[in-house]
């Protein structure tokens, strides 16, 4: 008798964890390095949100007596040629880098979904023609194309987000197209078509949810690449507008002539970039392994 009561209660007892909690537990257990990198990224995000509070000085406040100071207790990362606190500038740079990197990636997703989705879902002649365009687009050395377009539209934050977002999205559409074609092979897709589901309904209810993991993975990996592209463009003078410090811009011409006197000017922005991109890549890799083991291919 007591047994009969005991069994159902034993089944109910362990509280089912939500899928999200389950995911985080796996992340910590299986991917310790990915977790550490994820935490670093979280810290970076918090730092960029609270940049104005956390930075010891306003990023453009000049202390002309303290020009080109080496790192010290007063200026943790030293000062630049106008005596501006370098830590505050790096923090401001984190904000810009993340803002542009994330926004460009969001545009990437939209563009890749539109092009890849249309190409893969509709197929046929449209697919053939669109893919030749994508081929030609991908033959360009990315940086050259970005440089050319940026010089035409002028440097600026919205410009660079759109240019990077569209350019990268066209490349990324290949992956989305592949994933959509993969979904179309599945029985549930054919079943949906058979019961007369409309194209839109099939697309939104069946295709989109099933290509989501792949999209999350691909684009979590491309944030790092976008941040590097922004930095490269700014370095060459075609990225973010001058005035506000971004990591690539801090390494460009303006500061170059002072770097032999104050090498920390060269060290910190590059280090910040490398750590950020490294963590984004490692976190992206961890996500990929957990979300979609099939993509694991390059275990390196």
């Amino acid at each position: 008798m007591s047994d009969a009561i005991g069994i159902p209660s034993a089944v109910i007892a362990p509280k089912r964890r939500s899928r999200l909690a389950e995911f985080f537990i796996r992340l910590v257990k299986e991917k310790p390095l990915g977790t550490i990198c994820g935490i670093i990224i979280l810290i970076l995000i918090l730092v960029s949100i609270f940049a104005d509070v956390l930075a010891p000085y306003p990023y453009d406040e000049q202390h002309l007596v303290d020009r080109l100071q080496a790192p010290s207790a007063r200026y943790l990362l030293g000062t630049d040629q106008l005596g501006r606190d370098y830590l505050s500038r790096i923090i401001q740079g984190a904000r810009l880098s993340l803002l542009v990197g994330l926004s460009a990636t969001a545009v990437n997703v939209v563009v890749a979904l539109l092009i890849g989705g249309a190409s893969g879902f509709l197929g046929g002649k449209l697919d053939l023609i669109m893919q030749r365009f994508v081929d030609a687009w991908m033959a360009f050395p990315g940086l050259l194309l970005l440089l050319t377009i940026m010089s035409l539209v002028g440097r600026g934050t919205p410009q660079i987000i759109m240019v990077l977002g569209i350019a990268g999205g066209i490349g990324g559409s290949r992956v989305v197209r592949g994933a959509v074609i993969g979904v179309k092979e599945n029985v549930y897709f054919q079943a949906a078509e058979a019961i007369g589901s409309t194209k839109w309904r099939t697309l939104i209810r069946h295709v989109l949810p099933n290509i989501m993991p792949i999209i999350i993975v691909i684009f979590s990996i491309s944030i790092g690449g976008n941040i590097l592209s922004v930095a490269s463009l700014s370095f060459l003078g075609y990225g973010l507008p001058p005035g506000r410090p971004d990591w690539g811009g801090l390494l460009s011409m303006e500061g170059r002539q002072f770097m032999e006197m104050a090498p920390h000017l060269a060290l910190w922005p590059g280090l910040a970039l490398t750590i950020t991109v490294y963590c984004l890549n490692m976190f992206g890799d961890a996500l990929r392994d957990l979300l979609d083991p099939r993509l694991r291919g390059g275990e390196g």
Partner: protein, 322 residues
């Protein structure tokens, strides 16, 4: 086999056509204010006696005729006369001559970077695979992932700054032609190509490792071991040859990254190549030069990938039947 080659060649034609259209259109849709900037610059530099007017410039750029006529003229000039036109500024030099003059620098930089990249990536990748999950493997992989995250322009700057402070040494900044002093020429190129090479080495190493791991699990490798062959012969004669095939494709895929990197590296190290020409032209808003360089680079990437696709069946007999 012949059918494969022909099909691959035919598929390249529409892509090449679209490539030219893209190059043409990106620059042809110059916003009005860019023309104003060009005008101001031309007047400032005293081109045409400072009396260039908007109409003349639009005529010069061919903007006064319909787009398809513009494209026809542009592509006709390239195909029939091998001419990209003239620069809009600075004594109106022939773009073709300038490109031919600067091409060897970019090619030398690119080839040296590829060779250096392979020299780093192949041994490390192979070693990492045959010693999978050892400390050496982990170190090799970690360095590769850090290498992928490190911007090459930062490495370039660091090489300029720190050795100068520590040892009073900086990399040579003056171009020495190969014909005058081959060793001096290599001295100029070695550091830029090292930096450019390490950028590609990271992904090549990862690819080599993955392919090696796959090949090492094949039956014929087990057979080779069971025949009593030593590790050297198994790895070098049996495994590497087969693992290397996909890596060849990767080199083609890396070419756009390499050429983009060349733009940055040529600018940091003052090498008079196409990348530097590109940035000069962009600063001058000399868009005829910009589209010429874009076309050369784009065609080079397409050509290299086409060539790799064409020699691929000879490397990997399995492809012949597809």
């Amino acid at each position: 086999m012949r059918a494969y080659l022909i099909r691959r060649l035919l598929l390249a034609i529409p892509t090449l056509f679209i490539l030219t259209v893209l190059v043409f259109l990106t620059v042809r849709f110059i916003p009005g204010d860019a023309i104003d900037v060009m005008l101001a610059r031309m007047q400032h530099m005293g081109v045409g006696g400072g009396e260039v007017d908007r109409e003349a410039l639009e005529h010069e750029l061919g903007l006064d005729v319909p787009v398809h006529v513009q494209y026809g003229r542009w592509i006709g000039g390239i195909l029939l006369h091998g001419s990209f036109g003239r620069s809009l500024f600075a004594s109106r030099w022939e773009i073709k001559e300038r490109i031919i003059g600067r091409l060897p620098v970019t090619i030398e930089l690119g080839v040296m970077a590829i060779v250096i990249g392979l020299m780093i990536a192949l041994p490390v990748g192979i070693y990492s695979a045959i010693r999978q999950d050892t400390a050496a493997d982990y170190i090799g992989r970690s360095v590769a992932i850090i290498g992928l995250a490190t911007p090459n322009f930062w490495l370039g700057i660091m090489v300029m700054v720190y050795p100068a402070i520590w040892w009073g040494w900086s990399p040579p900044m003056e171009m020495i032609p190969f014909t005058e002093d081959p060793l001096g020429n290599l001295g100029v190129f070695i550091i830029p190509s090292l930096i450019l090479g390490t950028a590609t080495a990271a992904s090549t190493m990862r690819m080599t490792r993955t392919m090696m791991l796959e090949v090492l699990r094949q039956d014929y490798i087990r057979t080779a071991w069971s025949k009593g062959l030593n590790e050297r012969v198994v790895v070098l004669r049996h495994a590497v040859k087969n693992a290397f095939i996909p890596v060849v494709t990767l080199i083609g895929l890396q070419l756009p990254i390499l050429l983009g990197g060349a733009v940055i590296i040529e600018n940091i190290f003052n090498l008079p190549g196409l990348g530097r020409l590109m940035v000069y032209a962009l600063n001058d808003r000399d868009y005829s030069v910009v589209s010429a360089v874009n076309l050369v680079f784009g065609t080079a990437v397409m050509g290299a990938n086409l060539m790799i696709d064409l020699i691929y069946p000879y490397l990997d007999p399995r492809v012949r039947y597809s």
